[in-house]
Subunit: 284 residues, 2 copies
C-alpha cells in the first residue's frame, strides 16, 4: 500500500513526444528563416494545365537568364508549346520561332559552373556520388574544390536550357524541368537557370511523348503556352519565399530529413542532395 501510494505520488512519466518531422520544422520556421524570391526572378508560365512558377538564379546563369527575360519581353513564349515529356526525365517547352528576318543572336557564354567565391555553401554533410554537395542561398549545389567552382545540381524541379551539340549552350528559347530521378550526369553539361517552386505536379503528369526521347510526334499533342511573364510585371502576382539554407532551421530540417521518425523504424542517418528539397512557401 505504501509503495503504491509512493508510486502514485511520483510525478507522472513524461508523455513521449515524437521529434518534429521535416514538415513540422518547415511549418514552424520563424520569419528569419526565409528569404523572399525577388519578383524579377519569378517566371510564371501559363497553360491550360495551370501556372508553373519558376525561380530564376541569375547568380549562376546571368547571360542565359538575360536572354530568357528578353524573350519574355518580346512575347516569344506566348503561343509556344510543351513539346516533350520524357518519363523519369524532363518536361520541355519551346518559344515560338523567331519572326523571319530576325538576326540570329550571338552565342551565349557557357554558364555550366561559376567561381565558388562569393557563395556561402552549407555542406550537405553526407557523401555525394558526383562531387561535394551542399546548398547556396537556397539552391542545391555541387562544387569542385580543386577548381574552386560551383554549379546548380540537376535535382527534381531543376530548370535548364535545352541546347544542341557543343559548343552550342542554348539561347533560352527551349527550357526543361526535371520530373524524374535527379539526372546529375547533366550537371556542368547544361545551363541550369532555376527551379520550379509551384505547379509542377500538373506538368509531371502530362502524357509522355509519343516519339523518340519523349518528343510528341505531332503538334496536336502539344500543350499550348498561353503566356509567360515575370511576376515583377504583374500586379498582385503571387510571392514566394525559400528557406534560408544558412539558417539553424534549415540545419534542423536537413537533419530531420536524414533521420526520419514516426513511421520509420530505421532512420537512414544520411540524405542525398536531391532528397532534401529546400522548402518553398507562399509569402504571407
Amino acid at each position: 500500500m505504501i509503495l503504491l501510494a509512493l508510486l502514485l505520488a511520483a510525478p507522472p512519466p513524461p508523455i513521449p513526444t515524437a521529434p518534429p518531422s521535416p514538415t513540422d520544422i518547415a511549418a514552424s520556421a520563424p520569419p528569419s528563416a526565409w528569404r523572399p524570391i525577388p519578383p524579377e526572378n519569378l517566371l510564371l508560365l501559363e497553360t491550360p494545365r495551370g501556372t508553373l512558377a519558376i525561380e530564376l538564379a541569375p547568380d549562376f546563369a546571368p547571360a542565359h537568364i538575360a536572354a530568357i527575360k528578353s524573350l519574355i519581353a518580346q512575347g516569344r513564349f506566348n503561343g509556344g508549346n510543351i513539346t516533350r515529356v520524357q518519363d523519369n526525365y524532363v518536361v520541355q517547352w519551346a518559344a515560338r520561332p523567331a519572326p523571319q528576318g530576325t538576326p540570329k543572336p550571338a552565342p551565349l557564354p557557357a554558364e555550366y559552373e561559376r567561381p565558388a567565391a562569393g557563395l556561402t555553401i552549407t555542406p550537405l554533410g553526407n557523401p555525394d556520388t558526383y562531387a561535394e554537395a551542399g546548398f547556396a542561398n537556397g539552391w542545391p549545389v555541387a562544387q569542385d574544390k580543386t577548381t574552386n567552382t560551383a554549379w546548380l545540381a540537376h535535382c527534381y524541379a531543376a530548370v535548364g536550357v535545352g541546347r544542341d551539340n557543343p559548343p552550342d549552350t542554348g539561347d533560352g528559347s527551349e527550357l526543361y524541368a526535371v520530373i524524374g530521378h535527379a539526372p546529375r550526369h547533366l550537371d556542368r553539361n547544361i545551363t541550369v537557370v532555376g527551379r520550379v517552386v509551384e505547379g509542377l505536379p500538373a506538368y509531371a503528369s502530362l502524357p509522355r511523348g509519343t516519339g523518340d526521347i519523349g518528343f510528341y510526334k505531332t503538334p496536336a499533342e502539344y500543350t499550348p503556352i498561353t503566356r509567360v511573364r515575370l511576376a515583377a510585371n504583374i500586379p498582385g502576382a503571387p510571392r514566394f519565399e525559400v528557406m534560408d539554407t544558412t539558417s539553424k532551421t534549415f540545419a534542423d530540417y536537413k537533419a530531420a530529413r536524414a533521420n526520419r521518425t514516426g513511421f520509420f523504424i530505421r532512420p537512414a542517418a544520411a540524405v542525398d542532395l536531391c532528397n532534401v528539397q529546400v522548402p518553398v512557401r507562399r509569402a504571407k
Copy 2:
C-alpha cells in the same frame, strides 16, 4: 605535286567513331548477357491505362511475395483500385477488402533486409550517400558489411509493400511503385518486392491525388484495376529479360552511364545507383 601524290597515296585518316552509348551497349548485348524473368515472378496488373509488368524478387521478400501471390490467386486485386498518386514519390494501389468473416492473416516477418551471403554483389564502384551500393542478380541493392546484410534499393520503378505503423510490415494487399527521385530513406523501412519492367510511364502520368500525401479524395478519382495475374498462368504472356549484372556487358554499360559522350562535354566520371537503370527487354 609529289607531296600531293604522296598524301593522296597515304591511307585515309580513320573516321572518328564515338564510343558506344549505354543504349548502344544494351542493344548489342550478346544473349549471354541477359537472364530471363521467370514467368512465376512476373506480375501483370491491368487497368484502362495499360498493363504494368512487375518483376517480383522472392530472393529478397519470400513471405510478402507468397502473400501477394495468394491474393492474386484469390482474385483479390481484380476490382481493386489505384488510390494514391503522390508527385515525385509513388503510385499506390489496393486490393479489394477481404470478404466479411475472412480471418485476419498472421503478421508477416519483416523482410527489410536479408543476409548478404548467397548474393553475388557487383559493386557500383562509386560512393553512395546511404550505404555500399551495387547490383545483385539484376537488382540495385545496398549492403551493410558490418551486419552482412543487403536489401533492394528504392530506385525509380521499385515496388514496395504499403504498411501501417510498426511493427506492421504490410500484408501485400497495398503496393506502390516509385515514380520520383529515389526515396532511399524508405530503404530497410518498407519491404521492397520487385520493380516495374514495363508500362510505368502511363501510371507515372496519372493525375496526382487530391488529398493528403497524394491519396485521391473520392473513389470516383480511382483508376480501377481490371485484373492482376502472374504471367505463368497466361498462355502467350510477354516474356522479359534483365541484363546480367555480373556480365562484362553490364560493366561496360555502367561505365558508359558514368562517362557519357556525344552530347556531353564533361562526363561525370561517376553515376549513382538509381541512375544506372539495369536494362530490361522483351525476350525475342
